[in-house]
């Protein structure tokens, strides 16, 4: 990468030397440790808790149960220990606080709990008949309808009636969720793993009835999140804070890997009934998608699975529905590429099935169905580079040489298959503030209360300011992850960069103007009296375009602004944007399948994305590859399995829950299409989700092309791919 924007991560040195401190590593004197006691039943109530054995163990300090936990305001968050009810297997029923993590765990194991179990709804299939319509699907309406799909299906030259399934997945950031709460006399300080310090502060203030100014949330480094450190963490985090108040001392609660299967959300499994109608040329005349997913008995969430079916392709007749089934199971929540991930698997598989039915090239079918505008929103695209993505991706992959018939490509005893999928993800943004300051030594500091989940936020915040002020990136310091900073955005849903970029750029421009003013008005400045339009910032100096005079920022600051100079900006998205904004892409996969063993090896993934302005190509590529690997997991590895009888998670560890590892990696070839989008603030679309959308569909289509076997259920495992001789 010779692009000058491809700066390495600003915090990389701290991360490769072990100096970057994550939440659980916060050093606080007198810190106590907590361990959860969790329910083995999926529904019922706690009738007795006997802690007498635990209390006699060394290091025991206290126990908190529903009997002695102070009631909290039932604001936005679902809360633990507010009553004797058990709503899913794995729900906390007590917490032990002790002087060390080992002592806490040992004592927690010695707490005797008596339960009264009740019949639980734990088998999704048994309750499909009780599906109901949720209030929303993600951020979109539950149902949609344009035209008359039933009539169009009845009249279609070709129609397909298909059923797809996707598994539940868990996010599993490598860093487990943790919280350390320190109740000071005037300020509650919370060190926690969060994708949104400000949203978490609001949740804490709400639960404890505090003014938000009385709560400080800190998250300096964040070991991944993928959705599991957003609102899904509120209940556990609030529980940890409550423990500290309960014992009057700072307490650390850190989830175990097993608890991360039940207490911090999951991607819903889905059952998708998808019907397509098309004319003889493959032009879509009807799409009908009905999707069902589970939610818990105590909260409601539905992934927007049908988003892609509503807008990806031109089609006059489209109907979609989302339905939920209530189960005694952990509450689902968004996970990387929520909705679009599982939804695009069904839609892109079905397009492949339609292409096969019509004996058309799958890419040609997609080109014939290109949507020139967003028919769902009835708006023009803000920009749409999908066709360039098809072209660039196909060319790089060598798609033109693909035989139509499955099983025609071989590599020794293995059969090869090529599949592709279209990709999209909506552009979201939220209000953000930021400040950019000149310090007295001439250095620049950017402040924004957002987080860096590993995406590169720290680095691009610095780059944005450095570019406008024309200072070397090495002279820029970035402060994030603290509610004492200007309020920054949530890190997730590809929201953060699109949100903070306009704010940081506005603050940096304001600072630039003020520096130029200062340079031309400071009596000791060599630029005194210069016309301001003639002054520019260049390499750490204010320089005159008309003469050979300049002032270094350090000299200017030291003399005229000894306390530094700070510019602040706040930006808010336009709620009435008259265009529809999506990032687009195309992904191409090559698999090799062993016909006797059924083993699927992913050999290549080629992807092209058009997603607005790219701030740092090096880090953007890493984001795309990371997203693609998330998609590989969905396609070939990941399944959270609940025991249908007990409701307990089977194999709740990282040895049984398979995620892609180094030996599973294909060759990656990622292309970023240049795209200027004048409709979006800063031209930013967000890229974190795009890599995961479509990938599972492309891989499944490649498996079909290799084997002739259409697999409509994720993940695709060995037993699905054994081709009968």
């Amino acid at each position: 990468m010779n692009d000058s924007r491809s700066a390495p991560r600003l915090e990389a040195r701290l991360k490769v030397t072990g100096q970057a401190r994550y939440s659980a590593e916060t050093q606080i004197p007198g810190l106590l440790h907590a361990a959860l006691v969790t329910a083995p039943i999926a529904r019922g109530r706690v009738t007795d808790i006997d802690a007498s054995r635990a209390e006699r163990l060394p290091g025991f300090v206290a126990i908190m149960t529903h009997e002695n936990a102070a009631p909290l305001a039932r604001a936005a968050a679902v809360l633990h220990l507010q009553g004797p009810e058990v709503r899913f297997a794995g729900e906390p029923v007590a917490v032990v606080i002790a002087r060390s993590p080992i002592a806490a765990r040992r004592a927690a194991a010695a707490v005797d709990v008596v339960y009264e179990a009740e019949p639980a709804a734990t088998d999704f299939d048994l309750f499909l008949g009780e599906a109901y319509a949720p209030r929303t699907a993600g951020r979109t309406p539950t149902d949609s309808l344009r035209g008359d799909p039933e009539d169009a299906l009845a009249r279609a030259r070709v129609s397909l009636d298909l059923r797809y399934e996707t598994a539940a997945n868990n996010h599993h950031p490598m860093e487990p969720q943790s919280v350390i709460a320190d109740w000071g006399p005037d300020l509650l300080t919370v060190y926690t793993t969060t994708q949104a310090v400000f949203a978490h502060r609001a949740a804490i203030a709400g639960a404890f009835g505090l003014e938000v100014e009385k709560v400080r949330v800190v998250c300096e480094y964040l070991g991944g999140g993928f959705g599991a450190k957003g609102g899904a963490w509120y209940p556990g985090m609030i529980l940890g804070i409550q423990l500290a108040r309960h014992v009057g001392a700072p307490v650390r609660l850190e989830l175990t890997r097993a608890q991360m299967f039940t207490l911090v959300g999951r991607r819903q499994e889905t059952r998708q009934h998808l019907r397509l109608g098309a004319d003889g040329d493959g032009r879509l005349t009807a799409i009908a998608l009905d999707t069902v997913a589970p939610t818990s008995t105590y909260a409601e969430y539905a992934d927007a699975v049908a988003t892609t079916a509503r807008m990806m392709y031109a089609c006059p007749n489209v109907a979609t529905t989302h339905r939920l089934v209530r189960l005694n199971a952990p509450q689902p929540n968004p996970m990387r590429a929520p909705g679009e991930g599982p939804g695009s698997f069904a839609l892109e598989s079905a397009m492949d099935e339609l292409a096969h039915e019509l004996q058309l090239d799958p890419l040609e079918l997609r080109l014939r169905n290109f949507a020139v505008r967003d028919q769902n929103a009835d708006l023009s695209w803000s920009s749409n580079g999908l066709r360039e993505c098809y072209q660039v991706g196909a060319e790089a992959f060598g798609w033109a040489g693909r035989p139509l018939a499955p099983g025609a490509l071989r590599d020794g005893r293995r059969t090869l298959g090529w599949g592709m999928a279209a990709v999209c993800y909506p552009v979201y943004s939220m209000a953000s503030a930021a400040s950019v300051a000149l310090e007295s030594d001439g250095g620049i500091v950017v402040r924004c209360g957002t987080q860096d989940m590993g995406t590169g936020t720290i680095t691009v915040l610095g780059q944005l300011a450095a570019a406008i002020l024309d200072v070397p990136l090495a002279r820029v310091r970035v402060e994030i992850g603290d509610t004492l900073l200007p309020e920054g955005p949530y890190s997730g849903g590809s929201i953060a960069t699109a949100s903070f970029t306009p704010a940081v750029e506005a603050a940096a421009r304001d600072l630039r103007t003020r520096l130029i003013t200062l340079a031309s008005t400071d009596p000791a400045s060599s630029l005194l009296g210069e016309a301001q339009p003639d002054l520019v910032l260049e390499d750490g100096h204010v320089r005159s375009l008309t003469g050979n005079r300049s002032e270094s920022l350090a000299a200017l600051a030291g003399r005229a602004a000894p306390g530094g100079l700070e510019a602040f900006a706040q930006t808010t998205p336009d709620p009435d944007r008259p265009v529809s904004a999506f990032g687009f892409g195309a992904v191409f996969a090559e698999v090799a399948v062993d016909p006797e063993l059924g083993e699927v090896r992913l050999k290549r993934l080629t992807a092209a994305y058009a997603a607005g302005r790219i701030l740092n190509p090096l880090l953007a590529r890493s984001q795309y590859v990371g997203g693609l690997i998330g998609g590989i997991g969905m396609a070939l590895h990941e399944a959270t399995v609940d025991d249908k009888a007990s409701g307990r998670v089977l194999g709740d560890n990282l040895a049984d829950y398979l995620i892609p590892v180094q030996a599973d990696m294909p060759a990656f070839d990622v292309h970023m299409i240049h795209e200027d989008d004048p409709h979006l603030p800063g031209g930013i679309k967000g890229i974190g989700m795009l890599g995961t959308v479509g990938t599972a569909g492309a891989i499944a289509n490649a498996v079909f092309h290799a084997t002739g076997v259409r697999i409509r259920r994720l993940p695709i495992r060995i037993e699905d791919c054994i081709v009968q001789a």
Partner: protein, 161 residues
């Protein structure tokens, strides 16, 4: 209910060339003693059961999962954690390669990846990229830095992609 097997005992661990004397329960893992006892939090806890590799450290130049060994079993051995890999301000070539190849995102698996890679090279097992990929598969990464990690190791090992 005192149990002598749970009474803290005096222990001396040699970590990054320095002897540390402390008291730890006989059942304390090396991981917990490093993180909570010695404040060496560069060694990460990802699963606490040997399935993720985030806690990889070098003991007498061999890589082990610090969560799967008791601290008491490592007395008298040379333990190297991520904090001890650089030579003062000079980063180890593997650390430099990880930065140059953007072989990290959130950074939580990174110390384990780097120490695992260093151990792999010391063990003489990095004969080709496929072997490296196989040998690095015990170090999970959830952000998806894998190809960049492989590129960083290949550079240090002198292997061509």
């Amino acid at each position: 209910m005192t149990d002598p097997s749970r009474e803290p005992r005096a222990l001396t661990l040699r970590v990054n060339g320095v002897d540390h004397s402390l008291a730890a329960e006989p059942c304390a893992t090396l991981l917990d003693v490093l993180r909570d006892g010695l404040g060496l939090t560069g060694t990460k806890k990802g699963c606490d059961m040997g399935a993720c590799g985030a806690c990889t450290v070098l003991v007498d130049d061999r890589r082990i999962n610090a969560c799967l060994t008791l601290a008491a079993m490592q007395e008298g051995r040379e333990i190297v954690t991520i904090e001890g890999l650089a030579d003062g301000e000079d980063l180890h070539p593997m650390q430099q390669a990880f930065i140059a190849h953007d072989a990290l995102q959130c950074g939580y698996c990174t110390p384990g990846q780097i120490l695992s890679a260093v151990g792999l090279l010391a063990e003489g097992r990095a004969v080709d990229l496929a072997q490296v990929a196989e040998q690095m598969s015990g170090n999970l990464c959830r952000c998806g830095a894998h190809p960049n990690i492989l590129a960083a190791i290949a550079e240090v090992a002198g292997l061509r992609a």
